[in-house]
Point group: C2
Chain length 467, copies 2
């Protein structure tokens, strides 16, 4: 092991190659489940350093796990097979807006919220808005193809990437796509790499698309005494000819958790909330707002709220953002899932989650981007309780099965990472996995890039217990 | 050769395996340049037939060129290396709308315009609208990632594909993506295959995304006495906070050609026209219309026209659609290009095209989707005139160079096919092409799928002459 570390120190400043236990420990976990100690943590601050690091990694066959701020919910940066974590968060931040082209060029280390803020100074918007946008790097968003509430109208990270600079697994500099909105020059390597969870190379620069910032927004809150009805209201709105920018769902447990965490005056008696944001021209919003209110009431909302001030609207959205930290307070361990179904199947998925919760006697809270069929069922548990964790494993497995049976997918926006790998074949079939593996093997013949992710190992099962 | 044809006839009805010269000739050209006679034309009408055909093709190492209606502008279905054209246009058409999921499942043979028509019956829209939509199949649109005017606001074919059924080059059935709006389960094979020009497999089914049909549209026509000013007006509109659904450009030669072809009352004295369509709620359209008119006038439009009836608006758009057939009447040969640049560079590209036209004394007409930087310079010539064609070759080469120098791409929506292959390396670099080739080789070890497309051969140059 010392050989490759010494080789790295030949070229990189000593401060960028960390081998102390305390440093390694800081990089042994992310926002998902599990801890894995890397052999070293290596920081890269420019593309030549990445080239060098990957060439050494190939020479010594050392696994490399790229990492931004470690907010990943599926284990993307976890060093599950030892080797080095490649920390890109210290790369000098670059956010270079080209307002006349409606584009922005960014470094992997730029924080996602800062990109949108820079765009807003030109009347533009970078639409993808994962809840972690203020702390997460765009590099991580690109690797995992992050979503967010505005995905409903605007799409996810992938839909906003025009071009990339990527260091291939073997350490070659490659440019994909470009600066134009349309591009069909050869295979779409840009969209292949975005969302490939760091197994196909290291992203060192991205050109992102911007859109005009909508001149006005309108928040609507609808309260339901029945979870299924909330699902129906969402489905009905989307087939009415209106495309809201956001359409979020929270069940009673989430509402209660958020109110306990930091009260925003949400109705804790409600069985479910639907929070909607419309955007566009103020005149259009007035019309659309009335239509949405009519639909909510017809389906059976017990109450609808139109915030009277911007602050009030911001408070409602802030409460939605705080669901994840708030529910983490309920029990020590949170297994966060990401099942996504065709939009019309949201009410059925909600029913199935309720059944699973009762069958395995586990605590499941549900929230998420219901407008595009993407729910976040979270199982709250205690990882020290082996017996409970066994039930959690079964419940999680059944959540995945339910999503696939309803015509859906394992993951809408968080990625496969480590935990969902065992379920890949049930969704993709053996041919799908084989064709993905062929790409991986042809690009990364030594298998150094982020091993242990996406692809299941022979006989791999979901294990949430320490054995 | 007879061996593989006999093998195909073992399984397929005789009428689906055509070897007569007249039949083969009908499949020797598309809407681009060049003629290549296949050894046979094979029709497939279901996926089992495709599986069988590809297995035989691998066994006998016979090239396979998938083809829809042959409207391709870049040579996608041309049988440049002999072998069989795989005609998918006779596949029973399926267009299965799922209104509650906002999706539609289609066969490769469905005509694109019919898909949109089926969606409209449910108040929905399939947005991609290539000018050939009424005759082209969705299979061809998927293979080439077709665009169209509405690409400006809604995106191109790729942005509307949720999932595919694909027969791999080796004849295995694979499903990619699914029915959900969001999906990050493994590599995005869907977006890799869409636009891969038939070199990675045969698409046998697609699940497409639909969006609510906008409640109203508003057409605006702006007339300019200066081409550059028209480009500036487009750029200015897009940075004003308005995102039109379409924003098209026509130069004087196009206006004249369309008026000669079928008069729509366009101003033939104009140097350039910009045709805009706004869509959304009627109230918003009123506001946006006034803003657009103000911008057009400020930049220097000599006239602006608001159609008074739906018929008048339809006539304007019909004239735009007829540019391609109309200019084909001017001279016997039309070399249609597809250069795309960052939006702010549209005025510069227009200047460069004028210079190239004068330098090589060739006839170049320009129209296209200026709102997303995607112009269609067409060189009008006579392929029997070898001396002229030599100048055309040089002019086309310089158009590609200009696009790349301006930060653009060889192709925005028509694909690389045969003609643009020699210019691939100048845009992608050798690493980019190598990484694409690795995918191709790992998926299609015998190289049977649509050989001679996308990838340049050693020393390959653009040749438009018969030598």
């Amino acid at each position: 092991m010392e050989n490759w570390i010494n080789e790295l120190k030949e070229y990189l400043p000593d401060s960028q190659v960390m081998t102390e236990l305390a440093d390694r420990y800081s990089y042994s976990f992310d926002a998902s489940f599990g801890e894995y100690l890397p052999d070293a943590v290596v920081q890269a601050k420019n593309k030549q350093q990445v080239v060098y690091i990957l060439k050494i990694a190939n020479q010594f066959r050392v696994p490399v796990y790229p990492r931004g701020q470690g907010t990943c919910l599926s284990g993307g940066p976890l060093p599950v097979k030892g080797g080095m974590v490649l920390d890109l968060s210290q790369w000098p931040s670059m956010i270079d807006v080209h307002p006349d082209d409606l584009t922005v060029v960014v470094s992997p280390s730029a924080l996602t919220a800062n990109i949108n803020q820079a765009a807003e100074e030109h009347g533009l918007m970078y639409a993808p808005d994962p809840s972690s946008a203020h702390v997460a790097t765009i590099g991580g968003n690109l690797a995992e193809n992050s979503g967010g509430p505005r995905g409903l109208k605007y799409g996810v990270t992938k839909d906003f990437v025009l071009g990339l600079e990527v260091i291939t697994p073997e350490g070659e500099i490659m440019r994909t796509g470009g600066q134009t909105i349309k591009n069909v020059t050869g295979f779409d390597l840009t969209k292949l790499i975005v969302g490939s969870e760091g197994v196909l190379g290291v992203i060192t620069e991205a050109t992102l698309k911007l859109v005009p910032k909508p001149p006005a927004v309108q928040t609507i809150l609808a309260v339901f005494d029945n979870v299924r009805k909330a699902g129906e209201a969402i489905s009905k709105t989307l087939t009415s000819g209106i495309l809201p920018s956001k359409m979020e769902f929270m069940d009673q447990a989430c509402i209660q958790a958020v109110e306990d965490f930091k009260s925003a005056g949400l109705p804790v008696h409600a069985k479910a909330l639907v929070i909607i944001e419309l955007d566009g021209h103020p005149e259009a919003l007035k019309v659309e707002r009335e239509l949405v209110l009519k639909i909510m009431k017809r389906i059976g909302a017990t109450e609808t709220v139109i915030p009277q001030t911007e602050e009030e609207a911001a408070r409602i959205w802030q409460s939605r953002k705080q669901v994840s930290p708030a529910i983490a307070k309920i029990k020590p361990t949170k297994v966060s899932e990401d099942a996504t179904v065709p939009r019309s199947k949201i009410p059925d998925l909600i029913d199935r989650l309720q059944e699973i919760k009762e069958k395995y006697e586990v605590e499941v809270v549900v929230f998420g981007h219901a407008g595009d069929g993407n729910l976040h069922p979270n199982v709250l548990c205690d990882k020290r309780d082996q017996e409970e964790m066994r039930r959690v494993e079964q419940a999680v497995g059944e959540i995945f099965e339910a999503a696939i049976e309803l015509g859906g997918t394992l993951s809408g926006e968080h990625g496969i990472g480590t935990m969902k790998a065992p379920f890949m074949e049930s969704e993709l079939g053996s041919v799908g996995i084989d064709m993905m593996k062929r790409i991986k093997d042809s690009w990364d013949p030594n298998g150094i890039m982020n091993p242990g992710k996406i692809f299941p190992e022979k006989g791999q099962k979901l294990v949430l217990r320490n054995e």
